[in-house]
Amino acid sequence: MHDNHQPKLDLVVIGNGMAGLRVIEDLLEIAPERYNIIVFGAEPHASYNRIMLSPVLAGDKAFADIQIHDRRWYEANGITLYTGEAVATIDRRRRMVISAEGREVGYDRLVLATGSRPFIIPVPGHDRPGVISFRDITDVDDMVKASENGGKAVVIGGGLLGLEAAYGLHKRGMDVTIVHLMDQLMERQLDPAAAALLQHSLAQRGLSFRMGAETAAITGDDAGHVNGLRFKDADDSTLDADLVVMAVGIRPNIDLAKASGLHCDKGIVVNDTMQTYDPRIYAVGECVEHRKAVYGLVAPLWDQAKVCANHLAWRGHSQYDGSVTATQLKVTGIDMYSAGDFADDEAADTLTYADIRRGVYKRIVLREGRIAGVVLYGDTRDGPWYFKHMQAGTDVSAFRDLLLFGKAFVETGADETADEHDAEAA
């Protein structure tokens, strides 16, 4: 038990996104008196739920709906918040951070939560006006504005983010074509069968596709504004566009860490307690590389934040072992769930369920009787249940024949049924 009367240490958090904020929340819960917390956020807003940007773009939610904490919350918890103010330098010798505006703040502990940057394909014209990425609320605002006049949009990238962007723009009235390098959508999360169902379903909603298409250049009009794409193919085919959204992936944002001499590879390299090579400096979230793995989803971030907060609170040595990730697509009416490794090889047993007419597809990959990966399309309600067994490494042999049908068929009599009527009546 630490001494409550010990003077508070200074904790600086660089990044007011979901990872940094989660560390603070967890820390406030377990050791509210330990630190003076100072937060730097490059974006102008207090804090918002970045993974809900797609519903905002699609118009299903408003920005207010996805705000996590307003400034009053920071005040109430004694947190100093600098928004719209990126950190330019870390002076590790002096244990000082210096913002772009020259503000110097000292730290006892530092958390890097700088997130990631969208990857921009360096094709000619990638920097034209009208070419944007899909990363933050500003991008959403830009897209909403661009869609106000209708017109044609091209989304480069048939991954999770690209499809959500495309769907949002389509809902806002644009004529949207998805340009994807591969022959199937979401090739990292879906197998060909599920991807085909997804593409069919999106096409039915009015989205167009250019599959197996590589962009040669983004073309512009006389004013330099984007006006289309040219492809690398035999006849140099083109596609008109008033807006081009690049959604081909993200890269960890490691510039600051690198500049301050912290060891980086793909991301900022951390150990199992989320510490960088400088033990006073932690890193969490998408900027991190842990055991060679870099994550771009929200669930690992929660795990990392918890370990980081524990360590900062001197709560012993809970450690981060890496995450198995699950993906869901936030497109209204399309249920898709993907988790783990579903590569098919000699050592893998693949179980599939298909009800194509109803648009349901499931694929479960087992290795040594345990779930290694799962792809669900159309009926995703058991995704988390599979995920739980995957994480727990449950030997599913005993219920293998019913596994594809999910929890309701495997776990019987788990709950009392008598209350059901009452609950429904309520």
Binding site: N49, I51, M52, P55, K61, V298, A299, W302, Q328, D335, D349, T350, L351, T352, Y353, A354, D355, I356, R357, R358, V360, L366, D379, T380, R381, D382, G383, P384, W385, R400, D401, L402, L404, F405, K407, A408, F409, E411, T412, G413, A414, D415, E416, T417, D419, E420, D422, A423, E424, A425, A426
Partner: protein, 896 residues
């Protein structure tokens, strides 16, 4: 407008009266006929379900020649010329009829007359050869004529009923019910069941003697000796010899109960009890059936039983007689007209050929017995018989060594089959296939086991081009140039002629005498009430709404006079002998075949009724658990039964009802309903040398597990294509309410189950109305074909039977309605989702937490905040987008 018709059940030899009622929509309902003296309103499960069987599904509605639909003219011409040409070239014995106890007496009479009086051969035999020709032969040896002395009332009047080789509860259920009711009314009445198997009948007996197969003669000889040693004597011819054969000094020491018990394989004390009861009970009826008859010593067994009744003079008295009960509705009528190759006509033998020819005024007459059933098929095989006409029977299923019969028919130059079904194992080999009228459409008479002649009356029109058997035969006869003898106005005219023949030059030397019925008017015939023969004088015979005055004599031979040359009954000296083919090291088990409760013969009718099929849905082999262990087979698995003649693959039932060393398999299943359950192929063709009846109750057999690598089942709204079934090693077909179920298995797992399953169900690869769940590594595959939301078919495959789901829930999915979402999601699981696991609409998609789950947790755990819900269920703790909905649910619960 409803009409009700009194007719007779087409199943067993009990011969129950049924009423068939047609409502305004021609829907049929069936009830027991309370006016019929044989059943007094009762019906068994099969009779009750008759309405399920009168539909036209699978019916043969048009003649077919060489596999092609033809008109009657073409078909009749082909039959007539085929038979006439064969006779012209090879003589009358080169043709044959193989007929059936399913035919009406009038049909039977025409067949017999055509063959014996016009073609001039006695090559007409019947499937009755397979079930009770030993009783016929035994009756003739003992009484001089094939006569059942008693009636069902005797069973009720008896103080001791002995059932030998008869699972009466299943095979003659209404007789059994009458017996049970009588025992209930008088608990002093005793029932003894003598049967190697502990059948449903044996369960209710006061004493069950599970004798070793084939030891009936030893047992009844033992009884005869015991009776002789205990004061019973007889002066009847053969009496001394019979007692000598049974008694001291012979192989079986009759007086020594322990020796007999050992030979018979039953407990000493039980045998003693039986002997004592029999000796002490004046009113004793011994009922015997196929367990006695179907034996290479069948006739001797019958006489061994009758001997005991003659010695004790328990015959011709109320409550005392030996009683053969027959298997078929009109086996008795067939015997009466002379439809067996070993008799001529109307209980006259070949020594009375002139008499019969005189009556018929026919161009020819058979003077020698013809070929008995097995001999007939052997003669076809040998090329001696070149044209055969099979009517209302399915010998490729019912004969022993049935594949040999099949091979014989395959190379027979002309095979004519009259049947009601388009496809039977036999019909499929026909050169000419003739559509016969079915039960509900037929008019005529039948005779049951107690000599009761009952009218069968049509209550449905003949469908398509179907015709009555007698009419078909008369047409053929006319085309063969026999016009004179085959012009009848209808069945009544045929019946009158038949009755007249029984009376022709009959000065009391033949018990069978229908003189009183020879002048029935059309109306009298129409209204003929159930009438027991003999009927020697004319009396009012109409059923007048009340129980009719019965004709005839209930107990024959009361005066001790018999239709023998010396006017006396004869005891027959018989000595025990084992089955023709003994068990051996290679074939160590005794295979016994027989009926089950809810199927009939080769299932052409009963398989149409889902409720009947549900009783025992699958062909099976019963084996004692100790034998099962010895031969490495397990209950519920599949096993192959092999004999020197053939084999079958069946589901295993282990049961202590079965004697050790014995197997039992039902006779019904055939190639229409199973890939390899035609047990007749495995049965040995040994026959009783006197009766020619096959030894179905004892074939040496081996049993081994079927080496299946996969098991499965299919549900389909419509039957599968025959071609698709050909690719499945083992299958059986079970009719259901709105579906057909197939149980399937194979010895080599198909590499591409998806393609294979689509092929089986006839669903094209591009058809997306296909649900499937595949786990190729585990060897499991499940698929369903859905059309417009209706479940059309489902297939389930697994490497072991235990990995297949229960069948019952799936059966319930075939409702004729579109499936619900829940059913559709569950159909391949083969069972419903756990109700309590119904989570309701999803609220938290990150953790898959549903509305109902949250509401349940709020209530049961007293959760009061979004955070509390999150802690309890994880809901809202990942992306958090559902927190407002959780808050809303909390406020709802709060208000409630």
């Amino acid at each position: 407008m409803t009409t009700t018709t009194q007719t007779t059940c087409p199943y067993c030899g009990v011969g129950c009266g049924v009423t068939a009622t047609l409502d305004g929509d021609n829907a049929v309902s069936i009830a027991g006929d309370g006016q019929h003296p044989s059943n007094k309103g009762s019906l068994c499960s099969k009779g009750t379900a008759l309405a399920d069987t009168v539909d036209l599904g699978g019916r043969l509605l048009h003649p077919r020649v060489d596999g092609v639909r033809a008109d009657w003219d073409t078909a009749l011409a082909r039959v007539a010329s085929g038979f006439a040409d064969t006779i012209a070239e090879h003589g009358p014995d080169a043709v044959a009829f193989y007929v059936s106890g399913q035919l009406l007496t009038e049909d039977y009479y025409i067949a017999n007359k055509l063959m014996k009086g016009y073609i001039g051969s006695a090559n007409i035999d019947t499937n009755s050869r397979l079930c009770m020709s030993s009783a016929v032969a035994g009756h003739k040896r003992a009484f001089g004529e094939d006569v059942v002395p008693g009636c069902y009332d005797d069973l009720e009047a008896a103080d001791l009923v002995v059932l030998v080789g008869s699972n009466t509860a299943w095979c003659h259920p209404v007789v059994y019910q009458r017996l049970m009711a009588a025992r209930e009314a008088d608990p002093n009445k005793k029932l003894v069941v003598i049967d190697p198997r502990r059948t449903a009948t044996a369960d209710t007996a006061d004493l069950h003697l599970p004798l070793a197969p084939g030891t009936d003669v030893a047992l009844f000889n033992g009884l005869l000796a015991y009776l002789a040693n205990n004061g019973f004597t007889t002066d009847l011819p053969g009496g001394a010899e019979a007692i000598a054969a049974a008694g001291p000094g012979r192989d079986i020491q009759g007086g020594d109960i322990a020796t007999v018990a050992e030979a018979v394989g039953v407990d000493d004390a039980d045998l003693q009890t039986f002997f004592e009861w029999f000796a002490a009970t004046e009113r004793t009826v011994t009922v015997f059936s196929q367990g006695v008859n179907q034996s290479s010593a069948g006739t001797d067994k019958v006489n061994a039983i009758i001997n005991c009744h003659l010695l004790t003079e328990r015959i011709g008295k109320p409550g005392a007689c030996p009683f053969s009960i027959t298997g078929q509705p009109n086996a008795m009528g067939g015997r009466e007209v002379g439809g067996l190759s070993s008799t001529l006509a109307a209980h006259m033998g070949f020594d009375q050929a002139d008499t019969v020819q005189r009556f018929w005024d026919s161009p020819a007459i058979a003077r020698e017995p013809g070929l008995k059933a097995l001999e007939l098929f052997e003669a076809i095989e040998a090329g001696q018989v070149k044209a055969v006409w099979i009517m209302a029977t399915n010998p490729l299923v019912s004969l022993p060594d049935a594949d040999r019969a099949k091979a014989a028919l395959e190379q027979c130059p002309l095979v004519v089959v009259s049947d009601v079904m388009r496809h039977t194992d036999t019909a499929d080999l026909a050169d000419v296939l003739l559509p016969a009228a079915a039960w509900a459409e037929k008019t005529g008479t039948v005779t049951n086991s107690e000599r009761m002649i009952s009218r069968q009356r049509a209550f449905l029109p003949m469908p398509g081009q179907a015709r009555a058997d007698w009419a078909i035969m008369c047409d053929v006869a006319q085309r063969m140039g026999f016009a004179d003898g085959f012009v009848y106005e209808g069945p009544a005219a045929i019946f009158r002629e038949h009755a007249a023949l029984t009376a022709f030059e009959n000065d009391g030397d033949r018990v069978l005498n229908l003189a009183g019925l020879a002048d029935l008017s059309e109306a009298d015939y129409d209204y003929l009430a159930p009438t027991r023969w003999p009927v020697t004088t004319c009396q009012p015979l109409r059923a007048a709404g009340a129980m009719p005055a019965r004709q005839g004599v209930d107990q024959l031979f009361a005066d001790g006079t018999y239709p023998t040359a010396d006017g006396q009954a004869h005891l027959v000296a018989v000595t025990p002998r084992g089955p023709a083919n003994a068990v051996s090291a290679d074939y160590p088990l005794a295979l016994n075949t027989g009926r089950i409760r809810d199927h009939w013969h080769t299932m052409t009718r009963t398989a149409k009724s889902p409720r009947l099929a549900a009783h025992i849905p699958e062909p099976f082999v019963e084996i004692h658990p100790a034998d099962a262990e010895l031969y490495g087979i397990t209950d519920g698995a599949l096993a192959t039964i092999t004999t020197a003649w053939g084999q079958a693959a069946l589901r295993v039932i282990t049961t202590e009802r079965q004697r050790q060393g014995c197997l039992f398999a039902p006779m019904h299943w055939n190639d229409q309903f199973a890939s390899s359950a035609r047990i007749g192929t495995a049965a040995n063709p040994a026959v009783c040398p006197i009766s020619g009846e096959p030894e179905f109750k004892h074939t040496p057999a081996a049993i081994a597990p079927l080496a299946a690598t996969w098991y499965g089942f299919i549900y389909a709204v419509r039957p599968l294509w025959v071609r698709a079934m050909a690719g499945i090693d083992w299958w059986i077909k079970v009719p259901g309410e709105r579906f057909v179920r197939y149980e399937i298995a194979g010895c080599e797992t198909p590499t591409d189950l998806k393609t294979t399953a689509r092929h089986w169900l006839g669903v094209a690869a591009r058809d997306v109305d296909w649900l499937e769940a595949a786990d190729p590594a585990a060897g499991t595959y499940r698929a369903a074909h859905v059309d417009a939301g209706h479940l059309e078919a489902a297939v389930f495959i697994a490497p072991t039977p235990e990995r297949l789901p229960e069948r019952s829930w799936l059966a319930g999915c075939f409702t004729g309605q579109a499936m619900t979402e829940a059913e559709r999601a569950a159909v391949l699981a083969g069972r419903p989702a756990d109700a309590s696991a119904d989570t309701g609409p999803q609220v938290c998609s990150c953790f898959g937490v549903g509305r109902k789950t949250i509401l349940r947790a709020i209530k049961s755990d007293g959760l009061d905040s979004v955070e509390a819900v999150g802690r309890a269920l994880e809901a809202g703790t990942n992306c958090g987008s559902c927190k407002p909905e959780i808050a809303e649910l909390l406020s709802q619960a709060d208000k409630a």
